[in-house]
Amino acid sequence: MSEPIRSAERSEQPARERSSYRERVVRLGSAKELAGILCEPALSPSLPRPVVVMWNVGLNHHVGPYRTFVDLSRKLAEVGFCSVRFDLSGLGDSEFAAGDARADSERSVADVRAVLEQLPELTGSARAVLVGFCSSVDSAHAAALQDPKVVGIINIEGYSFPTLGFRLRYPLRFVSVSRWVRWAYHRRQRRLQSGSAHLADDGEQAVYQREYPTPGRLASEYRRLVERGVRILCLYVRGDSNYVYKDQLFDFLGDRSLASHIEVEYFPDADHIFTFTKHRDRALSCIVNFVRERFSAE
């Protein structure tokens, strides 16, 4: 070593930082098997507010695609909200409980609920706003239905079904230059490559298969949440999705009355994981505004 080893500052306690947030590592779950980060405002609000909770998107660990959840946590702290970002069992930096034979979907919901149980001890607040992003919308939705501590849900790229409005707008994609450029690229690639790529595609679909609720069941479940007073924000992108106009959600739910309780933000230029920073910044602003406006006064 060029320098002598010195005793390093190693801490699970909050750091005295110059910034608007304080972060500390937390272990969650009944056996402390879940790894997470608690992010708090540097100056604690006088009243306990709901805590925003987020976890893995697919196999990504708890920082989220492009570090989205770290940025979101720190922006929420700026407006006075605590958040917890954590890894589900066996993902990211969380351990997998030996002998746990539950299905992934069941275990995910149990993990989320275990974290909710620990919020009062961690933050002084028992209420939570859940953030579901793509596949994690499944566990956010299920946990919200089961747990009355959930007072808000933010679904990013959640459930979507084609509607008449979708079919009427479908031909518009043929005037997109970007789609034609991509089509030409894929055509060229198919000529250059063998058929092995198709096998890989099939395998990928099998890995990412999810159990979707029917639109009818989803509408009924959203109604239950709304009647309980849960605030809901849904963010959708056009990108490659089947979601092509802002109010498509209410059309496939078949219930326009939900529009007064469920807020929708639509990003016609963004892709599924918000890879452009300008789209991501806008999405995070929408979420922070929603949380601040709907939950500051509680």
Binding site: E17, R18, R24, S176, R182
Partner: protein, 269 residues
């Protein structure tokens, strides 16, 4: 596994320390160095698996996030190549302190491998070095990321917007200061420092021709310094059209097996 923050207040780093399942007297500890910002998410799962494999083989390890990545303090503007090397040195001290080991191996992937090599050349005392697809030229690395960015924008239907982007690469802001720091990376030139040399160096390569040619120069250099140098070629992972979104997961069982075997091979020497 133990997760924690360490380092200076305001510039804390996030680390995940894994104890060996069964400790061995005199065993080295292994510092795992992630790739840079743009390839970090992709590598997280593979590094976790590598840490678990090392643990089963009897080695402590530490994974850590560079400033501005993962759960460490800072934003992407803080992730210069110099800050990567400096944080690697901080993490090395942390690992030796935690594990009680006296010997250290560095395992780096892509730009993390380059940072590991530079830290060693600057004098960080290590027993062994694994350079997994090391970046040897910052200019070439950025050109590769830019090519991947163009393809990603094509596939994600952003073709029309691609030309309007500035200071952004593969979904992350890339300020001029960070770009300059990466452009300046030249592993061949860093050899002039010659402050330190490991006893053992393993090159893992996935078939990048330019970088592989540079490995020959690096191999010769470290051989002359008395290191035992070996090389292992990995199956070609698909070139520029892989890892387009920065959101995929790298799975490399062969690389993990070779790394664990190589570090384990020094036992009894």
């Amino acid at each position: 596994m133990r997760t924690f923050h360490f380092g200076e207040f305001g510039r804390r780093l996030y680390g995940a320390y894994t104890d060996p399942v069964e400790g061995r007297r005199g065993a080295p500890a292994v510092l795992l160095c992630y790739p840079g910002v743009h390839e970090y998410n992709t590598a997280h799962w593979a590094f976790r698996r590598l840490a678990a494999s090392l643990s089963r083989a009897g080695y402590a390890s530490l994974r850590f996030d560079y400033p501005g990545t993962g759960d460490s303090d800072g934003s992407v503007e803080d992730t210069t190549f110099a800050s990567m090397v400096a944080s690697l040195q901080t993490a090395a001290r942390e690992l030796l302190d935690l594990s009680g080991a006296r010997k250290l191996w560095l395992v780096g992937l892509r730009l993390g491998a380059t940072a590991a090599a530079v830290a060693t050349l600057e004098g960080l005392e290590v027993r062994g070095l694994v350079l997994w697809d090391a970046v040897t030229s910052g200019e070439s690395y950025l050109a590769e990321l830019e090519e991947r960015d163009r393809l990603r924008d094509l596939l994600f239907l952003h073709w029309a917007e691609h030309a309007t982007k500035s200071q952004e690469l593969l979904g992350y802001t890339l300020p001029h200061s960070v770009r300059r720091s990466i452009s300046a990376v030249n592993l061949g030139k860093s050899l002039e420092q010659r402050a330190g040399a490991p006893k053992q160096v393993l090159f893992l390569r996935e078939g990048r021709e330019g970088d592989a040619a540079k490995d020959v120069e690096l191999s010769r250099f470290w051989s002359e310094q008395g290191a035992e140098v070996s090389r292992h070629d990995l199956p070609f992972g698909g070139g520029v059209d892989r890892q387009i979104s920065g959101n995929e997961v790298l799975l490399s069982s062969e690389a993990i097996a070779v790394i664990v075997e190589t570090i384990g091979g020094e036992r009894g020497r």
